[in-house]
């Protein structure tokens, strides 16, 4: 049963990719049916699982060193629900969003495969299987980000996403190999059991390598640059990447391997600090952006930083809780943004305004998402973020203090966005999106409201110390963020014009020149290495080759004489003999079938005589 969950979308993919040209407009229904089936099965699994806490293990023999093993516990159960549920909503939404696209059916094929890969990743119970699905997720992201590959920007973004995540994947792969070499198994359970006995250095090294993979996939500093560019893909794809698949893979991977990470405190610290650093940096960039999808993208990076902080603070549950709630409201925000873009055909904030009147449903749900993201009570974000801050306060105090500015930034940039987009004069001719698009928004909005109340892991109540302080600190900073956004963009008391000239603002607006750094550093490094290699090539290898050439020349001069007089002589003789005899013998091949028949008869007669005598 559990195996069917990733299998159904995979089947849908297979059918759609081969027969999509027949199905055409009906293609999405297949994808919806498949994902609906997966969602239903996930629900069924969840209902079986959550009350009892029983785990499900399924294993099929595959290679001698790895089985096709699947595992469902509470963690993966929630992930299944998130991926299949949000995936389902996004696919439904895409029916409206992608209408009229020439590769309509193929889009749904890719979406199905994406979900299938992510579901498989969530279910897999050994590193090898996980790595396979991990790469499959990366491949699908490549397809989907570059879905409109006619746009050079989209094609470039797809390549960028692929290469940057690949950079992280190298670390991931090395980590897996290191673990396999030291433990001799890919199975999680075996590794967990063997981990305490390993050398601490080895453990730290392998977990750091694994974390590299998470940095790439979950867009952490310094590999996050691909994520904003990935906004070139269709908006449902962005929603899927940001909310349910792809970026969550890294967080999920660490949470899944947490027993391993727990044994390497250094790695956990790195995870936490990288996370919070990313959160602040991305938050700052988000403030300077004017493209609605870019803002959301940086907010995703920032929120992923929060999740990493939660993981770094020894609380995988907090991280995953935030992952889940973030999944709901970020999907909501992206789909809302998609709805706005669909209506206005523009991503720029400058083109928007007064949408609350023109698109009430989209606007309201979007604001719900914003509130949730900012961590306002009763929305989901409040609970999950609070949990992370709580964990950080207890186990990673520096992280906690650094997180407060990030919280401030979060609410600031989100409300900056809201104040610019929703109130005021109506610009352009926006119209409300069709039901197939708004229905997922409403469902997601309800989830974003209500999800926080049932904490899936129920672990918050362990220590009450400082809980109130943390609560008020985070709420206070969040309100401060909203308030300053209101001052700056709502009623526009303070003008920001002159700050835009400052060096810091320019530095942030240029995304810390990270892309340029990559180009300069990687490009320069490659140039340097290749220059060195060129010198090596010219002096040493060419010298050797030339020497060999000289020697060969001399030898072949000798050979030539031998060739001309002896070898050629033999060959010419053989050729002459063959030519001569062929000239004579070809008269046998008259082309008259009757001649051949006569030869056959004579042959029979001769054989007869030889066999039986005259």
């Amino acid at each position: 049963m559990v195996v069917l969950i990733p299998f159904l979308p995979a089947l849908a993919f297979t059918i759609l990719i081969f027969f999509g040209f027949i199905l055409k407009e009906k293609a999405p229904w297949l994808a919806i049916a498949a994902l609906g089936g997966s969602f239903f099965l996930s629900l069924q699994t969840a209902f079986k699982l959550f009350p009892t806490g029983r785990e499900i293990n399924i294993s099929y023999p595959w290679f001698s060193f790895a089985a096709l093993s699947f595992h469902v516990d509470i963690l993966s159960g929630w992930m299944l629900l998130l991926v299949s549920g949000v995936g389902l909503l996004i696919v439904i939404y895409s029916v409206g969003y992608m209408k009229g696209d020439p590769r309509f059916a193929r889009f749904f094929a890719y979406l199905s495969l994406f979900c299938a890969a992510m579901l498989g990743l969530v279910l897999s119970d050994n590193l090898l299987l996980m790595y396979i699905f991990w790469e499959l997720v990366g491949l699908c992201s490549y397809f989907l980000i570059g879905f409109w590959f006619e746009k050079p920007a989209a094609a470039a973004a797809a390549k960028k996403a692929f290469i940057f995540t690949r950079a992280g994947d190298i670390g991931f792969f090395l980590g897996i190999l290191l673990l396999f070499l030291s433990v001799g198994s890919f199975e999680f359970k075996t590794i967990f059991a063997a981990a305490p006995a390993l050398l601490p250095g080895l453990l730290t090294a392998s977990t750091l390598l694994l974390f590299c993979g998470a940095v790439g996939k979950s867009a952490q500093f310094p590999l996050y640059v691909w994520l904003p560019d990935a906004m070139e893909g269709p908006t449902p794809v962005s929603a899927l990447i940001h909310a349910a698949t792809m970026v969550t893979a890294g967080v999920y991977m660490i949470a899944r391997l947490f027993p391993l990470f727990e044994l390497a405190p250094l790695t956990l610290n790195v995870v936490g600090y990288v996370g919070i650093g990313t959160a602040i940096m991305a938050g700052l960039i988000a403030v300077t952006q004017n493209d609605i999808k870019k803002i959301l993208a940086y907010s995703t990076i920032s929120q992923l930083g929060f999740m990493m902080l939660g993981l770094g603070a020894h609380s995988p549950h907090a991280g995953v809780f935030h992952l889940l709630s973030h999944g709901f409201f970020k999907a909501l925000l992206f789909l809302g943004a998609g709805s706005i873009i669909h209506a206005l055909h523009s991503n720029e904030l400058a083109d928007m305004g007064g949408l609350v009147k023109a698109m009430p449903v989209t606007s309201l749900t979007f604001i719900v998402g914003t509130l949730a993201l900012s961590g306002m009570p009763p929305f989901a974000g409040f609970f999950s973020k609070d949990e992370i801050l709580m964990a950080a306060y207890q186990r990673l105090p520096i992280g906690f203090w650094l997180a407060l500015p990030a919280v401030f930034l979060t609410s600031f940039y989100m409300f900056r966005l809201c104040f610019k987009v929703f109130p005021g004069e109506v610009k352009g001719h926006p119209h409300e999106s069709p039901l197939v698009m708004t229905a997922p928004l409403i469902i997601l909005a309800i989830l974003a409201c209500g999800f926080g109340f049932f904490n899936p892991f129920g672990g918050a109540a362990e220590e009450e110390a400082g809980k109130l302080f943390v609560l008020f600190a985070s709420l206070g900073t969040a309100f401060l963020g909203i308030f300053s956004a209101w001052l700056l963009y709502g009623i526009k008391i303070i003008s920001l014009a002159r700050y835009k000239q400052t060096l810091l603002y320019k530095f942030v607006a240029a995304k810390y020149y990270l892309d340029e750094f990559y180009i300069w550093f990687v490009g320069g490094l490659v140039a340097l290495i290749s220059r060195l290699l060129a010198i090596f090539d010219q002096r040493i290898i060419d010298g050797l080759v030339n020497l060999a050439g000289l020697v060969t020349q001399g030898f072949s001069a000798l050979n030539r004489l031998f060739d001309i007089y002896i070898v050629d002589g033999c060959v010419n003789l053989a050729g002459w003999v063959l030519g001569f005899s062929g000239e004579k013998l070809r008269r046998l091949q008259t082309g008259y079938v009757q001649n051949y028949l006569l030869f056959i008869v004579i042959g029979i007669v001769i054989i007869w005589i030889i066999k039986f005598g005259l």
Binding site: R586, Q589, T590, G591, Y592, V593, Q594, L597, L598, V601
Partner: protein, 96 residues
């Protein structure tokens, strides 16, 4: 016994015809003679051994001969359309 000799001579005559005639239809007719010689032999054995199988084989051979004649003649008609003659010595696409 006499019938075997007879069918042997008939086979020889057919073979001679197949070897020497130049007209494709004439060759086909010579081949029919050879087939008939074989049939005669089979019928003789069937009679001599009181075994019906020989006659069954004769029937099969007649059917095969019919198929062969049909296909052969269709090919010959096609050849005629292409070359306006059916002399095997003049249609020498097999020649070197």
């Amino acid at each position: 016994m006499e019938i075997i000799v007879l069918s042997l001579i008939l086979f020889g005559i057919g073979l001679f015809g197949a070897l020497t005639r130049k007209n494709a239809i004439a060759i086909l007719m010579a081949i029919e003679l050879m087939l008939n010689a074989v049939n005669l032999n089979l019928a003789y054995f069937s009679h001599n051994l009181s075994n019906i199988s020989g006659q069954v084989f004769v029937l099969f051979i007649i059917a095969a001969a019919a198929a062969e004649a049909v296909i052969g003649l269709a090919i010959i008609i096609n050849l005629y359309r292409e070359f306006h003659k059916i002399d095997v010595e003049e249609i020498t696409l097999l020649k070197w």
